[in-house]
Symmetry: C2
Subunit: 104 residues, 2 copies
Amino acid sequence: MTYGLFTGFTARRGRGAELLDALLAAADALRADPACLHYVVGAGEDDPDAVWVWEAWTDRGAHDAALEPPEARAAIARARPLLAGSAGQTPVRLRGGKGLPADG
Amino acid sequence: MTYGLFTGFTARRGRGAELLDALLAAADALRADPACLHYVVGAGEDDPDAVWVWEAWTDRGAHDAALEPPEARAAIARARPLLAGSAGQTPVRLRGGKGLPADG
């Protein structure tokens, strides 16, 4: 079951750009992981310290496993001091659509 | 500026599967639109009547324009009777990551 996850972070004031850079580095680290289909990051339209991540994975287990390696733990540790809070997470059982690799 | 949009819908009770089918048909109609990068639909993990859409577009204007053609208006008209409400929309200024076509 393809797994989607939309996550919101609130960066400490003025630190949104650094948080985006940290998340873009995390996305780069995931390029070699075939189970990671999407890992897209951006900022709020009106608030550069509101940071959002959209992820799609082949399955939830692959997502959870990707948080475990030392490089992932290091990336999380780098991001944590930039965070003021969370705007929540929405997990989604993906049914299909445009832009998933299986679509061609 | 690549434009992302995460939208939540609440289907009328028991109508989530129909709403998903209507949104998958909308995704099919967007396959020919090169400005639409992602249009992925799914349901809540614990609530099949909670329906979510993740979209990525080359720019916001392309998204807005895609709502205008007669086929799009017809698709919206088909979906509307299935809706009980909205769980909101989050627009995102996308910075990059894995899974956008420019990534290769």
